[in-house]
């Protein structure tokens, strides 16, 4: 491999790499605003100027191809002075309104001002006045004065979202960004521009002014919006999710996620319609009861049916762990062969960037852990028929609102004598249920999803339920979480009385006379790893933060469809 020297250190690089790429690969930081690893090189911010020996002028590290034997200095007098000057230049027209700006705390310009600027300006004239609070699109707000014209958003729309909508207009210090005439920045990936904007010029309409970034905790997780399983961070303050941001994973989503996933997959966690404690239907109305009463009721009623009259529906919306325990519950506790789940496909949703037509996060996982009818068992269509004919009298549905998504199922479910629903929010299916158990959402439990490409990824709890404790259960904690007390109003966010689906099933199976030994999701995963080929040899540590690709041959063997 060819080598070059940077800051007296000899580093290897691949032919064709730029100086900045080689430096970052070797852990050397070169500041950059306009350069982004996934976007084309624009070279207009000039902050990455470095000194290369035998070159007449300083060069920008982002567009200079590294060459054998090159000697680069990032910390020489000339390079440092150049950076100071560039910072001074960028700050000429950048308003000093960090206290008002939402980007504060995660702003590249703020960080670099602290690191690379001398903090003095020779500029005594007035700053340019530009448009503030301009809606570039339905989800993104643009502040022209804060923009440093790095063109990352323009390049993102062209290159990643494949939908050129933005452009520079005007020249010199009056340059600003706008959409093409008659257009809006409304592509399904538009909000990624907010993340890549190095300053607070582009802000999130949904999140604007809701919280300071340093007041929130951020938890690594996975988006549940579709089968892609984009890696995300869940940002929580006062036990409430305030925003999701994409998390880098080259094998899955790179740096991006779609706007649908970012906006529509978390609000139900703090929704008004969350189910708080179990409910039993008494005289036609669902009534709040305590856990013991609901467990006993469920067990007595399940016991009253022969095992062939009970069917189970797993879910592609919930974790492998939940589905695995449901399969165990159906098979070895109740002894029913009727178990299936429903795939939810939306042919209009997918595209060839990230979004998949399968709008559930864990279809593959549900298949792998055995949510498929065995030979003598009924699949969903079979169950439907059998319920109509009153051959199946009891149905347990886990975390899937089938009434909203399956046509004409409502009347069929009316034929059931017992409908047990495990759900996180009240929905059309719980309206028909005789027994409702509140379940923890994806943001409240540990678990794994297998995405469309066969990559298994972990979700981690970010929001505490009644039974969870942020500190004892190893949650990510913000400063406020660490030092708050029960008397602080900023610590009293609502906690739901809900449990992960597998815990509910475990309690039920205990009462049915077959104890399950699992105490935490990790133990279920160990059991899965021991019993299911596709997961063989894996544990939570292996899956880690970036997931593991399951061996293809194992998947093919396991998935019969």
């Amino acid at each position: 491999m060819p080598k070059f020297t940077i800051d007296n250190r000899e580093i290897e690089f691949q032919q064709g790499q730029t100086i900045i790429e080689a430096a970052i690969d070797n852990g050397i930081e070169i500041p950059h605003f306009c350069w982004h690893p996934e976007l084309s090189v624009s070279g207009n911010c000039r902050i990455c100027l470095v000194e290369v020996e035998k070159m007449p002028k300083l060069v920008i590290a982002c567009s200079t191809i590294a060459a054998e034997g090159m000697i680069v200095h990032t910390q020489s007098q000339n390079a440092i002075e150049a950076r100071n000057v560039v910072m001074e230049f960028i700050l000429i027209n950048h308003p000093l309104d960090c206290p008002i700006c939402d980007e504060a705390g995660e702003c590249k310009l703020q960080d670099y001002t602290y690191q690379y600027s001398i903090g003095e300006s020779r500029f005594t004239e007035n700053k340019v006045i530009k448009q503030k609070h301009f809606e570039l699109g339905p989800r993104v707000i643009f502040d022209g004065e804060r923009c440093i014209s790095c063109s990352r958003c323009i390049r993102f729309c062209e290159e990643i979202a494949k939908d050129p909508e933005l452009t520079f207009v005007q020249r010199g210090d009056r340059v600003t960004i706008t959409t093409y005439p008659g257009q809006q920045m409304d592509n399904p990936y538009s909000m990624n521009t907010i993340d890549i904007c190095p300053v607070g010029a582009l802000t999130n309409k949904d999140f604007r002014f809701k919280a300071r970034v340093w007041d929130m905790s951020s938890t690594d997780s996975v988006c549940t919006g579709c089968a892609k399983g984009c890696n995300i961070n869940i940002w929580v303050r006062n036990n409430e999710i305030l925003r999701l941001t994409p998390r880098y994973n080259q094998d899955v989503n790179s740096y991006w996620m779609c706007d649908h996933g970012r906006l529509n997959t978390f609000k139900f966690v703090n929704g008004e319609d969350r189910i708080n404690s179990p409910h039993i239907r008494k005289e036609g109305q669902l009534e709040k009861v305590d856990w013991d009463e609901s467990f006993n009721e469920a067990v007595t009623r399940i016991k009253s049916y022969p095992k062939d009259e009970i069917a189970f529906l797993g879910s592609a919306y919930t974790t492998c762990e939940n589905n695995y325990v449901l399969a165990l519950f159906a098979g070895s506790v109740v002894g029913s062969n009727h178990i299936d789940f429903i795939s939810h496909l939306d042919p209009d949703f997918g595209d060839d960037i990230l979004r998949k037509n399968d709008i559930t996060p864990n279809k593959k996982g549900a298949e792998l852990v055995g949510i498929t009818p065995s030979k003598s068992g009924l699949n969903f269509e079979g169950m439907r028929k059998a319920i109509k004919e009153k051959k199946i009298k009891a149905l347990l549905i886990m975390e899937d609102d089938i009434v909203s998504s399956v046509k004409d199922i409502e009347n069929v479910l009316g034929n059931l004598e017992l409908l047990v629903v495990l759900a996180s929010n009240f929905n059309k299916t719980t309206e028909l249920a005789d027994l409702v158990f509140p379940t923890a959402t994806f943001a409240e439990k540990n678990g794994t999803f297998v995405n469309a490409d066969g990559i298994i990824q972990r979700i981690k709890p970010a929001v505490a339920t009644v039974e969870a404790d942020r500190a004892l259960d190893g949650f990510e904690m913000s400063r406020l979480d660490k030092f708050g007390s029960e008397f602080d109003r900023w610590m009293t966010g609502a906690k739901m009385d809900a449990k992960p689906g597998w815990k509910i099933l475990k309690s039920l199976s205990g009462l049915l006379g077959k104890k399950m030994k699992f105490n935490m999701a990790e133990e279920i995963f160990e059991d899965m790893a021991a019993n299911i080929d596709a997961f063989k040899g894996l544990n939570y540590d292996d899956v880690g933060n970036s997931g593991v690709k399951l061996k293809t041959e194992n998947i093919e063997n396991a998935v019969t469809s």
Partner: protein, 167 residues
Amino acid sequence: MEQKAVKRREKDLKFWERIYIPEILKGLSLTFKNMVRPKFTFEYPEEKFVPSSAYRGRPVLVEEENGEERCVACGLCSRVCPALAIEVQAGETEREKERFPEKFEINMLRCIFCGFCEEVCPEEAIVMSKDYELAFSSREEGIYGKDKLLVPANQLQDRIDFLRQYK
């Protein structure tokens, strides 16, 4: 090394000390001197103590003449507060400074009157007042919202001038 205290015994006393009367007079003269000295105690609460502008009483928010707060809800006071007494929830307004505190609460049970909030404030919006009368009878009452915190700027001119001079 600890030094041994010298104990004065009766036999060590000098003659004038031994006859006792001059010493009594000395003591009485001190008593009388203090009797006629000017008083520095107050008949509190009838008479109030007015602190100097350097005094750090309870932190308050500066209210402009038009009734709006100066605060832009940046959250720096909340961040710097070593006792986590301050909670700010920002909101959006139509004003030139587009951010304002929808909620601004100081938990006076937590506040330690250090003045860091005042020092860090980029807008001169939170200052330490001269108010030291902070009695309340429940935890809930101890949390001061915007209604209690906003004080017109002209009442705080003293402190603001002090800050401009020394901060």
